[in-house]
């Protein structure tokens, strides 16, 4: 029994690695332009650039790792990493299990994405196939409002729902407005943003464990400094050229 415990402790030490003020931040790596794997094979995107700068200003070392979206909160709670930066909206429901920093993206209403040939009566959606990514605020909204008269499909990743929309297996995707704008701009007229804009959640924040109040405060201070000197606005302009109405944070 003793050797067994020693062996487990050794495994724990091996898997834990160097824990000297180095934090791991989880992201999905497949939610452009927030996070993606670029052509050189590295993680990139708005979440990654903001996180890197935030950690630099907070004086801590951070590395980004990838984790699937649907298990991203449980793995944070299990201490497998220390923060989530994956375009995660601050909602009351999520606040019951995790904490958030202040938002690092301006309020972003969700909107509908369809093929430009699709016609929808948004006041009365019936008999449609609506899609959203699993466990997102949009999936929750579709479920609450359109479940009775429509088919709701949920997907593990954003690219899967985009593929289904382009192939005609899906009529409407409900998605963050900023992502819809980028997708429409790149589609060369094939896709369109459509219907009303609906504000859900309180902006995008870094997901933290509730017990890590000190680190959350450090990140908040760093984010406030990035807002004040225009660094955050510059990153928004870089990754969301279609987003109108800046500067958002610089005074």
């Amino acid at each position: 029994m003793k050797t067994l415990v020693l062996a487990i402790a050794a495994i724990a030490a091996l898997t834990a690695g160097a824990h000297a003020q180095s934090y791991k931040i989880a992201t999905e790596g497949s939610y452009p332009p927030y996070n993606f794997t670029d052509d050189s094979g590295k993680l990139g995107g708005y979440d990654i650039d903001v996180g890197t700068e935030m950690c630099k200003r907070a004086g801590v070392e951070c590395t980004f790792i990838t984790n699937d979206w649907d298990s991203i909160i449980p793995n944070l709670l299990a201490n497998n990493y220390d923060a989530i930066m994956d375009d995660m909206s601050i909602t009351d429901e999520r606040k019951q299990t995790i904490a958030f920093t202040d938002p690092y993206f301006p309020p972003d209403p969700s909107t509908y994405l369809t093929l430009s040939t699709t016609k929808v009566d948004y006041a009365n959606i019936k008999g449609m196939k609506l899609g959203a990514q699993k466990a997102t605020i949009q999936a929750g909204y579709l479920d609450q409002n359109f479940k009775a008269d429509n088919t709701i499909l949920t997907y593990d990743t954003q690219d899967q729902e985009m593929a289904d929309l382009n192939a005609g297996n899906l009529d409407i995707i409900f998605l963050d407005g900023s992502v819809v704008a980028e997708a429409v701009a790149a589609s060369g007229g094939k896709l369109k943003a459509d219907g009303p804009e609906i504000l859900i959640g309180d902006g995008v924040g870094v997901g933290m464990r509730q017990s890590d109040a000190d680190l959350t405060k450090k990140f908040d201070t760093a984010l406030a400094a990035m807002k004040a000197d225009g660094a955050l606005d510059a990153l928004i302009a870089k990754y969301f050229p279609e987003k109108a109405g800046g500067p958002f944070y610089k005074k």
């Binding site: 724990a12 497949s30 452009p32 332009p33 993606f36 794997t37 052509d39 699937d68 201490n79 589609s187």
Partner: protein, 285 residues
């Protein structure tokens, strides 16, 4: 990029389109994809090795072991063979990790930290083991080995019975003990009869490695999925539609190649094993 190293003369011959696509399929993310073959191959080889060891031990235990061991081996073979490999693949690494965490928690958790964490896993935060992908790769290989070890066990058990009784009687007549007969004569001669069955199970192991991405291991299949996914963001690289079928086609070719090479290797091993065994050579068993 790799294409930058090509001499200008060659670039002129190939033309800008070919150079562009050559550059695209040798950019960083594609190189990551090619490199990820190592995970698939590692899981294959580890799974195969574990399956062989587990299979031979279980078969020997079921055929020749003392009674409790015989029951244990029979139970293992029958139960594990009846479980879908995907299910076991999901079950075993998770159960193993949480089992370790439970044992570990008995040592590191105090009554206070336990009370704070009621109803959550791990029992207390200190008992959390965060496995990296190498650990998961090993667990994946072992899971494959345990599942397919049961199939190998039934192949080997049949092969053990196919060894002519005369050979074993002769060995006993020389005064060898039970274990010696098993080790020196019975298992040695068994391989010839077991090989076709083992080759078959190996093919199944090869194909089951496509499940690795279920454990968040960024293997050949997971990368193909990600590279083939449509991309609309210029920041993320080349903007393209859904290209998954092209990448899946490469996966199909890869698996056909692996099975083709395996078949060649197994037939070479087979003819080597049949040397000096005239009955087996003629197929008269």
């Amino acid at each position: 990029m790799l294409v930058d190293w090509l001499p200008q003369g060659l670039k002129d011959i190939l033309g800008p389109d070919v150079i562009f696509w050559l550059g695209y399929i040798t950019n960083g993310k594609h190189l990551n994809w090619y490199a990820s073959v190592q995970y698939t191959l590692a899981a294959m080889l580890l799974g195969g090795a574990v399956a062989l060891v587990v299979g031979v031990l279980a078969a020997a235990a079921r055929n020749n072991g003392p009674r409790p061991l015989r029951w244990l081996a029979a139970g293992y073979i029958n139960i594990v063979r009846g479980v879908p490999d995907v299910l076991f693949f999901l079950f075993f690494p998770l159960a193993f990790e949480q089992g370790l965490e439970w044992l570990y928690s008995l040592q590191v958790c105090t009554a206070d930290t336990l009370a704070l964490n009621v109803g959550k896993w791990p029992p207390c935060p200190a008992a959390n083991l965060s496995f990296n992908s190498v650990a998961y790769l090993v667990l994946a290989g072992v899971s494959l080995g345990i599942v397919y070890g049961a199939f190998i066990a039934s192949v080997v058990a049949g092969a053990l019975q196919s060894v002519p009784q005369g050979q074993l009687e002769a060995a006993r007549a020389y005064g060898m003990s039970r274990i010696e007969v098993l080790r020196r004569v019975h298992i040695r001669q068994m391989w010839v009869y077991a090989l076709p069955g083992i080759a078959n199970v190996w093919m199944s192991i090869v194909k089951a490695t496509a499940l690795l991405s279920l454990l968040q291991i960024f293997d050949f299949v997971a990368w193909a999925q990600r590279l083939g996914a449509s991309n609309f963001s210029k920041a993320a690289g080349l903007v393209h539609d859904d290209w998954r079928w092209r990448y899946y086609l490469v996966l199909l070719v890869f698996y056909v190649l692996v099975t083709f090479v395996s078949e060649k290797i197994f037939s070479a091993i087979g003819s080597r094993l049949r040397r000096g065994m005239p009955m087996a050579e003629q197929g008269l068993t």
